[in-house]
């Protein structure tokens, strides 16, 4: 898909070449005002794989994630340089339609943030917005399909008219995932999606992520090593705004090349 770039995006020589490169970031610097949050990050993300971003708090994981769907544009003080291509298309090209870009990249946030609308309207929000579905029955199918994918349908199929905010935390988070799926994105970005959830809800979401990766490319930020190990195929370790190491999850956890990575994944960080 992207030709001849594989060598450039192997900061640590850990790039697995079995899969197609979907997102290709090169030399990304991010500043909040004068303060630099990311230093020359180059990272490739494969199609239909789960890539997890790990690292201590404040190291720039969320910042990096938000670069991928240009949510950093919302923050006035934030400026980005470098090159991020998705499917070979530079997403920071001034001619790109940011709204269209975001409709191709779903995002799930740390805290569940359902709109204060009914469950149905929450899921139907995106499809309605993009005018893809106008037929009522079709919309119903879409909502049902999205909720089924998010593993929520059986639990709340009788509660579609209740406000989304009345669900439990774990249900709310899955509702947000359903909401993101409903716009048929290629990529789903998740920023600590389980940090507000209990172990059972977390297990459900992890299961869901595992299923979703057959259709979607997923990038997930997590503070839990176990979670990264369980759900992701590749792992990237960030530290103080630098990408320290990236590679197959197994390698990162079993035999990291970098000392800092090793210290972090074995819990000796700090």
């Amino acid at each position: 898909m992207v030709d001849g770039t594989e060598n450039d995006i192997k900061p640590n020589g850990n790039y697995s070449s079995d899969n197609n490169l979907l997102i290709d970031c090169k030399n990304v610097d991010v500043f909040y005002g004068d303060k630099q949050a990311l230093y020359n990050v180059s990272l490739g993300i494969n199609e239909k794989e789960v890539t997890s971003l790990i690292g201590p708090s404040g190291c720039g994981k969320s910042t990096f994630l938000r670069c991928l769907n240009r949510m950093n544009d919302v923050i006035d003080s934030c400026s980005i340089s470098g090159n991020i291509k998705i499917n070979g298309e530079d997403i920071y090209n001034p001619h790109i339609d940011v709204v269209e870009l975001r409709s191709r990249i779903g995002m799930v946030f740390q805290k569940p943030n359902p709109f204060p609308k009914s469950v149905f309207d929450n899921v139907a929000y995106g499809p309605r917005l993009h005018g893809k579905i106008t037929d009522k029955d079709e919309m119903h199918h879409k909502v049902e399909a999205s909720l089924v994918r998010a593993g929520l349908w059986d639990e709340i199929k009788d509660r579609l008219n209740e406000p989304g905010t009345s669900l439990s935390g774990g249900q709310q988070q899955r509702l947000c995932i359903a909401r993101a799926i409903a716009v048929d994105p290629e990529i789903i970005l998740m920023d600590e999606p389980c940090s507000a959830l209990d172990p059972i809800a977390t297990a459900k979401i992890e299961e869901l992520i595992d299923e979703l990766k057959t259709n979607y490319t997923i990038v997930i930020v997590t503070h839990s090593m176990q979670q990264a190990a369980r759900v992701s195929q590749r792992t990237a370790f960030f530290h103080l705004g630098n990408l320290i190491e990236v590679g197959d999850t197994e390698n990162i956890f079993r035999s990291p090349e970098n000392e800092q990575t090793e210290a972090y994944v074995t819990g000796r960080y700090g």
């Binding site: 919302v74 006035d76 995002m107 805290k111 943030n113 709109f115 995106g126 917005l129």
Partner: protein
Amino acid sequence: MPNYHGLFVILSSLLPCIIFLIVFISIDGFIKGVIIQNHLPNSLILLGQEEVDFSVSILRNNIHNLQSILSLEILSTDSANSLYNYYFFYRAGFLTLTICITTFLAYLAGKKLNVRFDARRNVEKILKFIFFVFSIVAVLTTFGIILSLIFETVRFFSQVSFSEFLFGIHWSPQTAIREGQVGSSGSFGAIPIFTGTLLITAISMLIAVPLGLYSAIYLSQYARPKVRNYFKPILEILAGIPTVVYGFFAALSVGPFIRSTGESLGLTVSTESALAAGLVMGIMIIPYVSSLSDDVMTAVPESLRDGSLALGATKSETIRKVIFPAALPGIVGAILLAISRAIGETMIVVMAAGLAANLTANPLSAVTTVTVQIVTLLVGDQEFDSPKTLAAFALGLVLFFITLALNILAMVTVRKYRERYE
């Protein structure tokens, strides 16, 4: 805690002293009256109670100065001197008494103090008492006002029938006080003045709601923080301009402008028109809508906005479909508060909309409002128990209930909104 000890002494001596002063001031007039009456010459007392009361009251106002007592020429020089001396001793005695009480209490409080004494907790108790008294004063005043409104309204309805007031369409209270006609009431149909209020309020809301709301949306969603910090206070200045200034702006600029525009279009417009008053009032009310709406829209959690943007919504779609609905209860509250402000506004209407109680929906004609009628009913000399005067209380009571209902509605909606995000 030495400062708490000090505070305790001050509070426990000054507080009773202040209470003593208040009691004293309320009986001061009576004591003076007694002293003065004892000095009045018999010849005056024989003239009758009215004469006595009159002399007492003017003497009371001049008692502070011997010269002015003499210049009244009611008392002989001797008794004037004696009165003044009495007054002087009474004053001095009172002052000494106050100082004594205060010192004594301070002494008692001081004696109570020792290292063990928990001045901090005692100060707390005293302060709690003070705050309680102040809040009671506020509450009692409110109840007093409401009660007097109700009381006078009941008197009004003993003279004018209830249904005439509420459903009558003719308002001309002036005839009621014509000489020789006392008791035969004028026309007290309140419908025209309530429709006038409604008309002007509606016009002003037509101005204030869109302008206020759009500026709130701009300020809370589009403006950069720097712009917002300058814009918001400037907008709020609108609420701080005295209404009389708006009034002459409405009467001298807007009114004539509307009239000349109307005439060039072939319409008959009076200089005083509901439109002029409503327009200017609408401008005055903009900050009531914008400021609160801005606050509630800013309070909509960032995460909702981000959630919508991340789904590929544009900014205006996000505002329309997520932020605005989420903030709607708060915005409704803001609008209700603005309405009750518009209903209560008087000065602009007096100056720009006139006094004629026309029953009309035509914004180009002169109308009047409830508050304006209350003012005109009470201005000038009249007996306190004529229906004309009492009508003001009835109008006031109705107005009170309307704004009260609006405010409660506003409060309830705003509160509902708060619960949703906390």
